[in-house]
Symmetry: C2
Subunit: 478 residues, 2 copies
């Protein structure tokens, strides 16, 4: 009977990182494929990670006064077209509804790829006076983008996300909100996902369609490629003008409000996998792990073992630790491999010997080291181990980021670095889009961001030789 | 400045209940209209009620071992067609996606009106052995039904809901699940929404498309019309056969699993409004109220008032009460009317006199009575008042249900009762669909359910005179 289940092998990440990633997504039971290409099923274990992300972020959003709303999933084509840059960016990847029941619609509707236009339409109805500002709204929903290629969590045609949309009296306030929410993301990624980030501004070429400025938190994956973790946009009053949203100001004159939007999506789960995973499977940072500690009884059928294991489970749960127990007939080897594959931070074994010695045996997922832990005070010890594991994951990722970020002074140096080593190349930049495009053509990299933490690497742009304005980071992105 | 805002009048509910309802939905800022007919915007105050409903139900679902998942929003037409009864019921109200980007799709996709077909497709992939059963999945999402008429919360083209979908080894287990979840709904409605329900089975005519049996919790609104609060379906193995889902049983032979689904939606919010509301607006049961107590400082600019009000707020919040404070310049009259309109259960006023007497003044939303409450132990007193208010709302609704449920013994009696008084008419019934249709034609009522609590009102069906099988309840439904 125990033979019925087996933990399947996964591809070695150093041999084929892409296949390793897909293996982890399916074999850790995070995701399944549906019959429509690019539309994935979030399975319980994958969705539970998203629920933990949602809970942590939603609390932060509300702490800053944001309120959740839900707007329709369909956007009339005429509404989408109101802001020119925006529609140009999104129209090519919209899915269009043309029939309602058996009737052809007079106007076709796209399934929201993002909801700026819908929020603006609503804001026009409800913003009249400066007393109605700020409006700090957020929406948890799915969005749809009809992309040609797909990969679990990283590129779905339909994916889950949150989109914050805010309106402010002054551009100063809107700019502060843009930065505040970028920091919420960066802090969340550090403190909950154990992911270090580079904060910075996107170039005009890479910014969001319709935004004045886009800010980003960029992460480096284990394979040294870049992942954009979240973005925060400052819109100025561009959409407000396009949608004719005005409010009566303190001077009793009409004014346009200033707008932001910001979002993160389930691609963060892809980021977690590719930041922390290893050749045994997923490695989950404890604060988003659906199961933080899996209790495994050893020699389960011996007297007193199951009782002791359940008592231990009860103590851990009572202390607020997300603990479970595996009382199945599977072998110890199978259980070890299974919970390693699923990235459970701690496996807690308890058998007759342990009971005798008033201890249990805790195996950390990151180092796979085993330590014996006295049952007395086990709750605090386990909590301490979870915190320690979080910190270790963060430090390891931070080291990966630092070791593979390299200052380059010429196009050739960037090219050689990307070819031989890979990672983030930092260079000076004149600020011209032409040089940005040229770097991409020559080195196969895109600009990731102009980091807030600037360094002086020289005086000139390595592409054109003209005076440099900023230090910029280049990479190959997911 | 204070004159800038005003609380608008709403229609008298006894004059025009429908208009009263719409007024409450918009003026309590629960909902806004979008540019697409029948697609509504859930505003922060309305969405917060839904979040409270979600939290309470999700906890119950998980307590019984259910796990959340997220499946795609699009269903290929061929997949929808696999179960014949199901597609016949839903195809006429599907919205169809026919274009992806600039390309015509080879097959059109409908936006999910419900997800049985998607769950079955997934279950086919993941259910192989009896060890994989039961599967207890739930999904929180929006669904779309292209209806011709619409009304806030009660009938949206897109609405938010949860849909549970479970698979079991035996029909016995599946039947138990169907009843368990119906009871979860009934208990939730009693304990959280303060709504009494009639539990029962739907007739074959009224059951869900593709289900073997549908169970319902039926509620009576203030205008004596019926609202179906939630449904729980037993499918037998009909979908499993249509989708060819089999598992290897304990006997090592292939078997079809047995299935259930169950759901409630944001129409519960409509039910809350129409059960408890009055001519001053919304009346929210405390356990779903986004704001349970609104602290209003009286003579705010007098020394010490604001400090005392804020201290009171802090104490209430620390005790876990969802309390807020209104420090705006609006008049006391405006504030009273505003929070009555919004159905806030308790308004807590505190002014110089109260501070002197070490008390505050609490006004209940249901009775609009004011009581003075000592500041000492105010947290417990307020909690007690909230519980008491919940109980009063429930009792009032229960009285409404009992007083307007009437045993009838002939078609004429049903007709007269519905015309003169309105409510739930209970009669015996032979069980034939012909008589059910006939009752509708003659009296303008639909069957609500065959209640679990049966009574013997006679021996014959009042329509055909043949022997009666059940007692059934008739009403006019939203």
């Amino acid at each position: 009977m125990a033979k019925d289940k087996k933990v399947e092998q996964i591809t070695d990440m150093d041999v084929d990182f892409t296949q390793w990633y897909t293996d982890v997504c399916t074999k850790a039971e995070l995701i399944d494929y549906s019959s429509i290409k690019g539309m994935f099923i979030y399975r319980p274990y994958g969705y539970a990670i998203w629920e933990n992300i949602q809970n942590a972020l939603d609390r932060e959003f509300k702490r800053y006064g944001h309120e959740n709303v839900y707007l329709p999933m369909l956007i009339p084509e005429s509404l989408l077209q109101k802001e020119k840059d925006h529609v140009e960016g999104f129209a090519p990847e919209c899915a269009w509804v043309t029939m309602g029941g058996s009737e052809e619609l007079e106007e076709r509707y796209c399934i929201r790829p993002t909801s700026e236009t819908l929020f603006c339409e609503h804001y026009k109805n409800i913003i009249h006076s400066y007393r109605d500002l700020p409006k700090l709204y957020n929406q948890w929903c799915s969005v749809l983008r009809w992309e040609k290629t797909s990969r679990p969590f990283l590129r779905h045609r339909e994916f889950l996300w949150q989109e914050g949309h805010t309106m402010h009296e002054t551009s100063q306030e809107a700019r502060e909100e843009t930065q505040r929410m970028l920091n919420v993301y960066a802090d969340f990624m550090r403190d909950v996902l154990a992911m270090p980030v580079v904060k910075g501004r996107k170039t005009d070429k890479e910014k969001f369609n319709g935004a004045e400025e886009t800010y980003t938190v960029e992460c480096m994956m284990h394979d040294k490629k870049a992942l954009q973790g979240g973005t925060s946009h400052y819109f100025g009053d561009g959409f407000a003008r396009a949608f004719d949203i005005t409010y009566a100001g303190r001077d009793n004159q009409p004014h346009y409000p200033h707008q932001t939007s910001w979002g993160v999506s389930t691609r963060l789960i892809g980021g977690v996998i590719m930041t922390h995973g290893d050749n045994h499977g997923l490695v989950l940072p404890p604060r988003v792990a659906p199961i933080q500690a899996m209790v495994v009884p050893v020699a389960m059928h011996k007297e007193g073992v199951l009782e002791a294991a359940r008592a231990l489970l009860g103590r851990l749960q009572a202390a607020g630790i997300r603990a479970r127990i595996d009382e199945s007939e599977q072998s110890m080897g199978w259980k070890a491999a299974e919970y390693e594959m699923k990235g459970v931070p701690l496996r807690v074994e308890i058998g007759p010997k342990d009971i005798e010695n008033n201890q249990c045996c805790v195996c950390r997922r990151d180092t796979r080291e085993k330590v014996f832990v006295p049952l007395e005070g086990v709750e605090e010890t386990v909590k301490g181990l979870l915190d320690d594991l979080h910190e270790s994951l963060y430090q390891r990722a931070q080291k990966n980021l630092e070791e593979h970020t390299h200052a380059c002074h010429s196009v050739e140096e960037v090219k050689a670095f990307m070819e031989n080593e890979g990672g983030f190349a930092k260079t000076m930049w004149c600020g011209d889009e032409e040089c940005e495009v040229r770097m991409k053509e020559l080195c196969g990299v895109t600009s990731r961001c102009i980091p807030f933490e600037q360094e002086h690497l020289g005086d000139t742009c390595p592409v054109c030789g003209k005076p440099a304005k900023h230090m910029i980071i280049w990479g190959v992105a997911y």
